[in-house]
Symmetry: C2
Subunit: 683 residues, 2 copies
């Protein structure tokens, strides 16, 4: 033990092996593990399969967006029809029928997609594999923007409904939005399974209460021969100011299509499902589409028989269509409040769908080298934490910028989703073209592509001036960003690729250089390490002082160097290390040292240079505050950047407390797993 | 050249010497140097003397606080007398006389202090050297708190006066305060000379305009036989509600003493003056006290003859005493607005005194080891930038917390200054006691100590409940903090002290360990550097994958290792490096590596371990964003902290662009100096 002989404080557990008996529990983890408390313990790779979801958790995890859209889809379509008065309410049937047909088409199409891409059938993969990388990036960019918008709009819609119910909360709109965002983020950082389990309560409550309510309304309507008496009469419909034109119908259709966003979620997230993933994904997709379709149909029918139309949101006595319907069917009693409450809950939680799919999409894109690799690294709970945090950051910024009121973002919605729909369907159609003998399937996906493409065109035309142009600008920007990143990573990869064998001829012995501030144990240890590395050791002392003070200081250092370094080295028959004293008129440090290094390199051309930097190890948070190491950090960075290809930096730590490697392991590999650590296998 | 043979991108200028021809100007500095633009070029040590100030800059740099207090001192005393009505105005003469006597006493005392402590005669030094370390710390803590308060209160008072003149600016109070703070900070970061030069305009404008105005008033008063007719009549004095008691007089005296804060500034900042520093400091002190004394006397006299009393600040028609006086003497014309404008300017700039003295005080305290050493390092402009920034941060936080309205902090004022006064005077008295034969001087400083001590007692008693108790609590807290820091730094110093010679026996050859992710040029370079350091090289590959993917990946890596490393090493007759493959079920990195290092250390007890970490050099800001190195950073930190005393970390840089050491030097040592760089002197 070379070092421990005289560095009294630098201990090492004599029985090094016992240090790793980290199951014994004799050392408590002294620090509060906040991350562990919030997010849960680190999960092992092999726990991954058990963390995956079935249809039961799949519907809440991926269906919140789809089911929640039953609240705003019909409302959006009816809003467009307000100028048409009572007549507008009658044409809702053909519009909703068209939407339901498209929904069914999408369901069949995605059913096939999941089957063909059982590992991951997202629009990005399907478009990339069948239509080329650019189509894939277009789908990815459109979806990414849509996911971010979905989070911001979903949360602010839910909180908006809450604050209109409880006006006292209105001043805290932004805080409430960010609070819900933080909650969803945290739950998703814990894992998709947790998200599915936690959010299943509001989801199934919504389905049960609203489903029951609508069913009760339909039975009442049928029993009364199609003209039921409302318990709370809805406000009378406004008088018509416009006739029903084709353009009005198309716009109503385009608005109603927002009811479909969220249907692609399942196919984008197949990898979240337990094996057999295809089966569970199919079940989840079917459940979501079935519930959504029935809700939409029921709402459209009941709106007609109860004469419930949309109201201007700006009016003070504004009520949503679903609120009017529920009041008309059961009155403003207990059932009404449970139904409306669960609706608000799933609206604000509909952001969850984005949290399940966005990180998975980013992971695929990152694996292809279009995003930083950190997006593809599973976090401590086996979800892609970086993607989750980026989504939360982007949506949080949107909410903050708009003060929690994102109404103006709603027109931007649906463009991304329908772009992805169209690309995915076209990709699948192209897929079937290349695999002949699947005519029916080609027909399904082809019709799907045509239908969603037509819907996209209508949506773009109808909403372009309202704000959809923003998406038309943003999507290419995202694509350019992704491609730039790709070029960057490809360049790095190309530069790093190493085909040949290692070149070992002409390895010259290194020179060790050490910046010397004063003679202390740090310098002592650094000199010893320098002597281990090289017979040629040069210490550089930069003096910032001038005048008599400096001379006294340098004189003392020289005496110490002579007595404590040169003489012992001579006694040990080693070449004594050299010391250079250099005045630094500008108190510069890195530049001066680089200059001396360059001079030394000139004297010994071709020899590698190791710069030895001793560092006091920071053990507590106050060490970081009190031991200023910014100068050492800057020096290290300047040396690495500008020291040339023959320079390496050696950090020699000087610890004041005992090392505890077992703490690092215990933190990274939790103890409560009865899992033997695979022992190292030498080659 | 070992490396450059096949690392195509890692260049090195062949003519290394030409790299340092940095006076030639053939390489423009491509990056915008924002710091240089804001603060100015880096100054050489030997420019320090030329950067120092004379009395001309000394009065604005250090006198703004003192002169500005002429505005609030008399006002504060008169405010206390409001309940006494017209009678209160008459007793202002004895109060002001007492204050002027104390001021003269202080001036003589500090005159002597500067003479005896020509290098630095601050209260901290004087108290420490004559009364012991604790007295010094008490003075330092009191002064530090006072300086921070002075900045916050001065700026908010100035801006408060501005916003009451221009009410439209009122919503931006905090922004304006922080703006002025930023301006003063920036000017002081440029240097004390600049601060003196820039702030001399408002200072001398104030002295000239207000001096002239008061002189004009006095001559009018004398010509009219003591009863001049005011041009704008001041509001009539309120009727008395209380009699004049001794307690009222004492409180008025205590409040009036705020006029004296700022007088200690010169003695605390002697080191800022050019040689002969004592002469310039004396001149500055004399000028400040003389101007201040005359202003105070003139204000007290004119307030009586014009019947100007203080008004309640809460009243809507509130006018300050000086505003009433100026209006009474010259009317609300051009001279009035110039005088009041310059007064507002020096009030908001009175914070400057703190910026000159606080960093110097912190430097002295840091040199004694009671503050982090960064406070004692001169910045690029030879001022103590860390102290300046801390003062700005502390005052900025106070302003932010109080929203830019710091009226409530005014009672806290003056306690710190008078504590420092008393300690400094007592210290000087003790100094003369130890140097007999200076009876007159002992008398001056002794009387000064008694006078300021009495004033301190009155201030504490009069203002304790108003808020001075905060200072009484804060000062001990600061002292405890300073002492804790001292103990910490002493402990570090004790642990680092190295008395004996270096121990060179038993230096065993090191082992090189390198974490291996994949086989690329980074790994290639790392292996070569490892082979330079040690004959025993072990590469550790941690695989996070499991199943067939992992086997394929590991198999390929093993083939590459065999062909590209082992075979060439055998051909070069070297011991082939070993590779260990280890599965990491929890995707952990640092902990795993520490475990393997510990196993290797067990196999080779006592041998030092060098862990080689290759690193892509980050050259542009986007590299920091796109090349995530948080894992490498965490690994490095864990290795240094928990790797034990025999471990060092070697960073092998891999640069994609040419190094430019001359840029570092040009940045740290500006080119526009015709100063030959002292060449290195070998021992």
């Amino acid at each position: 033990m070379v070092a421990s002989a005289f560095i009294a404080k630098e201990h090492r557990d004599a029985a090094a092996s016992s240090v790793f008996a980290y199951g014994s529990g004799d050392r408590r983890n002294r620090r509060l593990d906040l991350t562990g408390f919030l997010i849960g313990r680190r999960l092992a790779n092999r726990e991954g399969q058990g963390r995956k979801i079935t249809a039961t958790e799949g519907v809440p995890a991926m269906g919140l967006d789809g089911l929640g859209s039953s609240a705003y889809g019909p409302e959006a379509a009816l809003s467009i029809m307000i100028p048409a008065g009572a007549l507008g309410l009658q044409v809702i049937t053909p519009i909703m029928a068209a939407i339901l047909v498209l929904l069914a088409l999408l369901c069949f199409s995605y059913w096939q997609t999941i089957e063909s891409y059982p590992s991951n059938g997202g629009s990005y993969t399907v478009a990339k594999e069948n239509l080329g990388a650019n189509a894939g990036l277009l789908a990815a960019a459109a979806l990414m923007i849509d996911y971010v918008l979905n989070v911001a709009v979903g949360i602010s819609a839910g909180i908006g409904a809450l604050t209109s119910a409880v006006p006292q909360l209105h001043p805290y709109t932004l805080e409430l939005c960010l609070g819900v965002l933080a909650l969803i983020t945290l739950v998703n950082l814990r894992g998709t399974l947790e998200a599915g389990l936690i959010f299943s309560i509001p989801t199934y409550l919504f389905v049960a209460s609203f489903g029951g309510l609508l069913l009760f309304g339909i039975s009442k309507a049928i029993l009364s021969g199609g003209s039921p008496a409302p318990i709370v009469a809805p406000p009378s419909l406004p008088t018509a100011t416009e006739g029903v034109t084709l353009w009005l119908l198309l716009r109503a259709f385009a608005s109603g299509c927002t009811a479909m966003t969220g249907v692609e979620a399942v196919s984008n997230g197949v990898s979240a499902f337990r094996e057999p993933a295809v089966k569970y994904a199919h079940r989840t997709l079917a459940a979501i589409v079935l519930i959504l379709g029935m809700l939409l149909a029921a709402i459209a029918y009941l709106a007609q028989v109860y004469h419930v139309g949309a109201m201007e949101q700006t009016k003070p006595d504004y009520q949503s269509v679903l609120s009017q319907l529920a009041a008309a069917i059961v009155g403003r009693g207990f059932v009404y409040f449970v139904a409306i409450g669960s609706l608000l809950a799933i609206l604000s939680l509909s952001a969850n769908t984005s949290f399940v799919d966005f990180p998975r999409l980013c992971r695929l894109v990152a694996t292809d080298g279009y995003l930083p690799r950190a997006f593809a690294i599973p976090g401590r709970r086996l979800v892609y934490s970086v993607g989750i945090l980026w989504l939360a950051g982007a949506a949080g910024s949107l909410l903050a910028v708009f003060g929690g009121i994102t109404d103006r973002l709603i027109p931007l919605f649906a463009v991304g989703a329908f772009t992805a729909f169209t690309l995915s369907q076209t990709g699948m159609a192209s897929h079937w073209l290349q695999h002949p003998g699947n005519r029916l399937r080609l027909l399904v996906n082809g019709t799907g592509a045509a239908g969603t493409g037509a819907a996209l065109a209508v949506i773009l035309a109808a909403k372009f001036m309202e704000g959809a142009w923003v998406v038309v600008i943003a999507v290419p920007c995202v694509i350019i960003l992704l491609k730039t990143l790709h070029r960057y990573y490809e360049m790095i990869d190309r530069q790093l690729r190493d085909e040949g064998a290692i070149a070992l001829r002409g390895l010259e012995p290194p020179i060790a250089i050490l910046p010397l501030q004063r003679w202390d144990r740090l310098a002592d240890k650094a000199v010893r390490y320098a002597l281990m590395l090289s017979p040629d050791v040069v210490a550089v002392h930069l003096t910032k002082l001038e005048g008599p003070d400096a001379e006294e200081h340098v004189g003392r250092l020289r005496r110490q160097w002579r007595n404590d370094v040169e003489l012992p080295a001579q006694a040990a028959a080693m070449r004594p290390p050299e010391m250079i004293v250099s005045a630094s008129p500008y108190r510069s440090f890195a530049g001066r040292l680089l200059k001396h290094i360059s001079e030394i390199e000139e004297r010994h051309p071709g020899r590698p240079v190791f710069v030895i930097i001793p560092e006091i190890v920071k053990e507590h948070w106050w060490d970081y505050l009190l031991l200023d190491s910014s100068r050492v950090r800057k020096l290290r960075r300047a040396l690495l950047r500008h020291g040339g290809p023959n320079l390496a930096v050696v950090t020699v730590p000087w610890a004041r407390e005992e090392p505890h490697p077992e703490e690092v392991i215990a933190k990274e590999e939790p103890q409560n797993q009865a899992m033997a650590i695979t022992s190292a296998q030498p080659v």
